[in-house]
Amino acid sequence: MPDLLLELFSEEIPARMQRRAAEDLKKLVTDALVERGFLYEGAKAFATPRRLALQVAGLPVKGQDVREERKGPRVGSPDAAIQGFLKGAGLSSIEQAKIESDPKKGEFYVAVIERPGRSTPDVLAEILPGIVKTFPWPKSMRWGTASREPGSLRWVRPLHSIICTFGPETEDPEVVRFEVDGIVSGDVTKGHRFLAPGEIRVKRFDDYAPALERARVVIDADRRKDMILHDAKDLAFAQGLELVEDEGLLEEVAGLVEWPVVLMGSFDEAFLDIPPEVIRTTIRANQKCFVLRDSGTGRLANRFLLTSNLIAADGGKTIVGGNERVVRARLSDAKFFWETDQKVKLEDRLEKLKSIVFHEKLGTQYERVERIAALARELAPMVGADPELAERGARLAKADLVTEMVGEFPELQGLMGRYYATLQGEHDSVAAAVEEHYKPLGPSDRVPTDPVSVAVALADKLDTLVGFWAIDEKPTGSKDPYALRRAALGVIRLVLENNLKLSLTSLLAKPFARTANAALFADFLKAKELVEAIEQSPFAPVVEHPSVAELAAIFRQRQIVEGETLARLMHARALDLLAFFADRLKVYLRDQGARHDLIDAVFSLEGQDDLLMIVRRVEALGRFLDTEDGRNLLAGYRRAANILRIEEKKDGRSYGETPDLQIVNDQGQIEEKALAVVLDGAKREAASAVEAEDFEGAMRALSRLRQPVDAFFDKVTVNAEDPGLRANRLRLLNDIREATRTVADFSRIEG
């Protein structure tokens, strides 16, 4: 079966876009083929800095023939009808139609339309220009003379040529001709920019790949990565060193070369005084080079590995020399920063934070640090941290933002703070908190465990969340410029993975009051004046950090309408923030594999604001429903709820009252007496188990309901003739519903 070879040859494609582009090309072409009924055996896509290539193997030579019969008018119909039929079916005379008959309609014409399958190259020539023109590059551009005209071709960088051939292995394939904005497809490409710049004529993928290989182009990015990794390890090993592996960097450098040649350079040992992370970041970010460590001591070595795109005439001497020059200059800068930064203590840098605006409405970094420090201190006892250390950690946490090093390498924020904190003799936990308060940065990032770090990390994230909620800048759809979802997930993971029992409401109350008042009210000049007026009032001691409710009360008391309105607005935003947390927790639990219906069942209970307890409850509920008792109780619950729903609707009233035990005892059957007794006990037992946070115990208590509930439905007719008895039985059913509500809202459970 024949193969398709497609190559799009351009100027240098950004490394970060290559892999995705190759995948997109494969998908777009194969989808378009399949959509037209062309199946294939396999497809592979490749990318280098200068080309995207695609092989689709095992395509048919042409598409399926299509035979269609179209019914026409009756024989003897008026000429207009006959002509219309001929036109529609593409026939030139009625002799070309055959005549069929059926008992109802009599004799009528039938046109047989046979469409032979179209040749694959024709279809390719039709599909491909559109794919090229609408290719989903993250950023694309216009160029050259063609860009005079509106709507000219866009590509990631100028596109120079296209190869498109199609044919079987045994014969010479044909060039699939098409044109995109003046570029005509052919069978010619070019090799490596410097090592083999000449033109290469190719037939099909089987000779394309080796021809390029001879022309010093490795089309497969994974093979380039393997070559780099292999050579890098060999070079390192020969020097008794070990490569510090870096997958992201490897992927990037593989996208910067068509023919990788790894070379080793070195730098002055004196630079090793700089923290290894700094050396690595400098060399990686600016030079895209790997660093090495001593295989014995594990310490960073004064060597680096660069990946060049050239088999150099001088064996790479010039290239290494040039790279060493640049590395030396970069490390000199880093060393200068490292030494200069140590001359100023972190706490003396705080003043400078006053000039860094965190957000227009949320003040400067300095003000933010003040808030975080106060909050970290308040949180400390709840997470088992020393309040002094937590406050200190928070106070120093952002100081490294104004160091030279972090100014140059923002990605070293936190880490540099830790180094400088340690050097100036801070407590280990304080130094650790300075680094770790940013964590966790994503779902796979490590969660800090040192209580001081936990306090500062929580304070940092809560302040951010509360602040942006207070000024109504919450994430919408895919837009989350302040990474607030990540911050909320961070809080959730900090709490859960450290087994912290905390009420969200109380966690958020104070920072909310503090930020909300400052931020929101500063938004409205009038209100700001009001707050100031209040602060100077006899109420001042009460309102040091007034809660929103307190503030509202004060405004009301003083009959300040604007203030009261604002306080109410804040209240709504506070509730919204809680709902956001609930939402993020659901997402988190779902990602962890929890059933979404069980999460809903727990969330729909009132006052769920302890993250750890919610999770424990969901877990216990899941385990309970996996048991036979659990499943049967759920069935019993549903039966009760169904009957209730129907009867309550019919009667136009609810049966929420407690069942009358007198009626049960006097008129009830033995099964309903038993149910009433067990219900009463189970309800109380479950409630007190929940109180003691023993969710397993609560489920156990409920499981005792299963047998009496089953027996009740088995033997007792709910809709008794005696209206009093009937009503009381409905109340009993309601009681089953109530009992289950001690652990979850069973109505939300699915399956």
Binding site: P14, A312, V326
Partner: protein, 313 residues
């Protein structure tokens, strides 16, 4: 370049480097311009780039442009940083299809042999918020060092470039340091001569770096500068208005796009000085950049109504 005398060799002469690039690009049909006679932050500000990039008319130019970055001054103490340095700027509109090859040819002309040097085109998209301009391209690396910027202009002064121009910017001092193998800018041989007759970059510019760093960071008169900013902004608007085609007239050309644009350049440089003096807060910064951009956009719009901008006379 074997026919050149030794003192013109780009590998030993800073001015030899400039002259070689000029000659090379002259051969590619560029007009060789002299630096624009105003203080600019980058070669792109020269009207030969900013304004000529707009409109349909073909254009090829090259020139060295002294560029001022007041904030980058280091009192002459840092071997790699200057508040005044040279860029060599090339613009070709529309970009020829072989612009990359032409660029590599220019490297060859200044003595960078691609059989031993590793030349790479590394993604670097360019954006100038003050000029309302952006483009896609690369930083060009030679043995791990960035030696040029290569950009296909997509938009300038808020207008789509039609056709697109290719822009090349060489950082001359850095390139010369590599070619000459020196570690400090100030050690660059300026005139390529030896002994008594040798003039270094330091001889020419060290004192200026020291004096201007003092000026930029400590003494530049901020009250005056604020005033100059307002004046330049007002003048720019005033000239733009005065140059507008008169209603009812047959002549629909704008008559003063270039003088107005000078005021935009001026505002931009004054802003950079104020920024270096540290008297512009983070929030104000944005609004100043926006104000300059508005001027640049208005000048671009005016330019498109001139003959140079493609308006049929």
């Amino acid at each position: 370049m074997t026919s050149e005398p030794a003192h013109m060799n780009p590998a030993r002469s800073f001015q030899g480097l400039i002259l070689t690039l000029q000659r090379y690009w002259a051969e590619q049909g560029c007009v060789i311009l002299q630096p624009y006679d105003m203080e600019v932050g980058a070669g792109t500000f020269h009207p030969a780039t900013t304004l000529r990039a707009l409109g349909p008319k073909p254009w090829r130019a090259a020139y060295a442009q002294p560029s001022r970055r007041p904030k980058d001054g280091r009192y002459g103490e840092n071997p790699n940083r200057l508040q005044h340095y040279y860029q060599f700027q090339v613009i070709l509109k529309p970009n020829p299809p072989n612009l990359q090859e032409l660029y590599l040819g220019s490297l060859k002309a200044i003595g960078i042999d691609t059989s031993v040097h590793d030349i790479r085109f590394v993604e670097d998209d360019w954006e100038s918020p003050t000029l309302g301009a952006w483009g896609l391209g690369w930083e060009c690396w030679c043995d791990g060092m960035e030696v040029s910027q290569f950009t296909y202009f997509q938009q300038v002064a808020g207008f789509e470039c039609s056709p697109v121009a290719g822009e090349l910017t060489y950082g001359l001092e850095r390139l010369a340091m590599y070619l000459q193998g020196v570690e400090s800018i100030y050690d660059l041989n300026f005139n390529g001569l030896d002994g008594d007759r040798k003039v270094t970059y330091g001889d020419v510019f060290l004192q200026a770096e020291q004096e201007y760093s003092r000026h930029n960071f400590e003494y530049a008169d901020t009250e005056m500068l604020f005033r100059h900013f307002r004046d330049a902004e007002a003048a720019c608007r005033q000239y733009l208005e005065a140059g507008e085609p008169k209603p009812g007239s047959n002549d629909n050309r704008h008559l003063m796009a270039l003088p107005a644009y000078d005021q935009c350049i001026k505002a931009s440089h004054v802003f950079n000085l104020l920024d270096a003096r540290g008297v512009i807060s983070v929030t104000e910064r944005q609004s100043y950049i926006l104000r300059v951009r508005e001027l640049a956009k208005a000048c671009g719009a005016a330019w498109l109504k001139t003959e140079g901008g493609g308006l049929a006379a």
